[in-house]
Subunit: 343 residues, 2 copies
DNA sequence: ATGAAAGCGCTAACAT
DNA sequence: ATGTTAGCGCTTTCAT
């Protein structure tokens, strides 16, 4: 094996200048036909492959995009990755995994990578801007925010309408006859949790339902916290007949809490999740939930980012992708009034 | 905002040569003390950050690693990513997501990226080598195979002992009193599926149990296929009292099949999964399963790869990481039979 | 301990 | 349509 061929070698062998070779190979359409195919043939013979670092240095691009999340171990991001990856790959871009673990140093690191030209753009899903780092001056054309909103920044956001989603969910429960509906919220004051809670309050009010404060319990998105929150709810003197949760995992926890005390889901207690994660469908009983179109979020975010990078669309207006409720097996009309749960 | 400072600017301001600046900043220890801190101070003032493309071009490195999977949407990889990322990040490397979708073209693409110097190394989890591409001559120092084995290649493998894992699982079921144990396999002839099936057969034989061929059903790792396979098993004239599955999702499907026909898990039927995926624990009932130490697999694979890249350890001997069985709520002694006395 | 000079491989301005 | 020239910003001999 010799060393790799470079443009110069091809030029020499083809009897043209390196420039012509470069032009021929990158398909600028500025090279006449006989030369073109001649060059291509030689490149083929020599197994030519461009040196990417050299190109990157010259063009000031890297053809890679940072995808920044809090926890790379969270399955929720998977479809977003997948959607973003498919768009990026088609455009010749690669995805760089960026995992902040909520560590401010890491958050800053990844922004520095952007400034350093180690990546051309970023899809930011941590819900926060970093401290202590140089933001690129053209940040609005390099960063798209997805999933979690960040207030007061002029960046494109790709998000769902958390409030509307809650209204749809509650409306469905109400249409089944539920009046005593409780909510298990995510950690406050995180933006997403706050908005979903607001949506719930809003929906309950719009439907004219009573909402005792004890009907709002807080979890941290883990199934364990959902189980504990549901325990508190079911211990209430006047427990709810339906529980709406801020994510699917807490819904799974709530199902566990119900089963533990001999309650059937959905006969004795309805459960409504949020996210339509992987396995919501496989769960027994299959979870009724709000579907977030994660593939779509990933695609839209990447599409907009690429438009920014190519200068095709500098707008930073937000993109709201629609959610839909998916009715499965964990919701049903409330039980008839009895003192004891029926078997 | 001015344009970014470069080494030359610092050199000018510090009254030294670019060479000295480079040496000072990369900590080679070849610069005397007064100069050193002087240079550092100026770099700080100018917010100097090195141009990575230039460095890459010069050093022929990129400090990034390809992580190649069949389907980036599969949650199973998450902890492997996480483990690999933590090691890589500490060493200053970034991870490039590579998603093959089982497309030979993509598989080749990612190897080409390696050859092209777009990435320094690769962790390969697709279980196959690509066709139609130039493999780097020093491939054994650039590629580590994880999770799925590839036969006849001289590359480091980081894998679990699928056979031993099956033996442990079956032994547990046997110790509970089960004799009629069926298996839902993954797609044959994929390496992983073949090995787990072999392990199951081996274990059944070792325990002296009868194994009718109908007790081995095949799925494709989806929960739906698990449900269908379990249906076939439970329709048998002499159905099993325990089902062992090649992954957790198919186990969830089997639980669904059982519930559908009014069978309780684990009272009427025991289910034993494989992987200990996310949610195995949250499932109701919580799934008894074989835990694959994915974080560890990711860490070990990356550690070895970095050792290869730095030349510290050129060995390609395989690394076998231990599994363990996790007993939760889906396994119990088989139901009593009036005419079959048991423990 | 520091500097001068060369060059990694590519592409883009500016000719012709 | 093709060539000439220059240079992206860094690191690394090789000299002093």
């Amino acid at each position: 094996m010799n060393k790799r061929a470079k443009i110069k070698d091809i030029a020499l062998k083809a009897g043209v200048s390196p420039t012509t070779v470069s032009r021929a190979l990158s398909g600028t359409g500025l090279v006449a036909e006989p030369t073109l195919s001649h060059i291509r043939a030689i490149a083929e013979t020599l197994h030519y492959r461009p040196n990417i670092s050299a190109r990157n240095l010259r063009t000031q691009k890297t053809m890679s995009i940072l995808v920044v999340v809090r926890d790379i171990g969270n399955p929720f991001y998977l479809d977003i990755f997948k959607g973003a990856e498919s768009i990026a790959h088609d455009a010749g871009y690669s995805l760089l995994m960026a995992n902040t673990e909520d560590d401010p140093k890491r958050e800053a690191d990844y922004f520095n990578m952007l400034s350093d030209g180690r990546a051309d753009g970023m899809i930011l899903m941590t819900g926060k801007m970093p401290l202590d780092c140089d933001l690129p001056h053209d940040i609005s054309q390099k960063v798209v925010v997805a999933l979690e909103m960040i207030d007061n920044v002029d960046l494109t956001h790709v998000v769902i309408d958390n409030e509307y989603a809650s209204i749809e969910a509650i409306d469905h429960l109400v249409s089944l006859g539920h009046q005593k509906i409780a909510y298990i919220a995510g950690p406050i004051p995180e933006g997403m949790s706050v908005r979903r809670l607001a949506g719930f309050r809003h929906a309950m009010m719009a439907d004219g339902l009573k909402l005792p404060e004890a009907y709002i319990q807080q979890g941290n998105f883990s199934y364990q916290s959902g189980e504990r929150a549901a325990d508190r709810l079911l211990d209430l003197p006047d427990p709810p007949t339906a529980i709406y949760t801020a994510n699917d995992e807490m819904a799974f926890g709530a199902i566990r809490a119900a089963k533990k005390r001999g309650l059937s889901v959905p006969e004795d207690l309805s459960i409504f999740g949020f996210d339509d994660t992987y396995l919501a469908e496989a769960f027994v009983p299959a979870l009724t939930t709000v579907r977030q179109p994660c593939l779509e979020i990933g695609r839209r975010a990447m599409t907009r980012l690429l438009a920014h990078l190519s200068g095709d669309n500098p707008d930073t207006d937000s993109i709201v992708v629609p959610t839909e409720i998916v009715i499965r097996e964990t919701t049903a009309p409330p039980p008839q009034k009895t003192y004891h749960p029926s078997s």
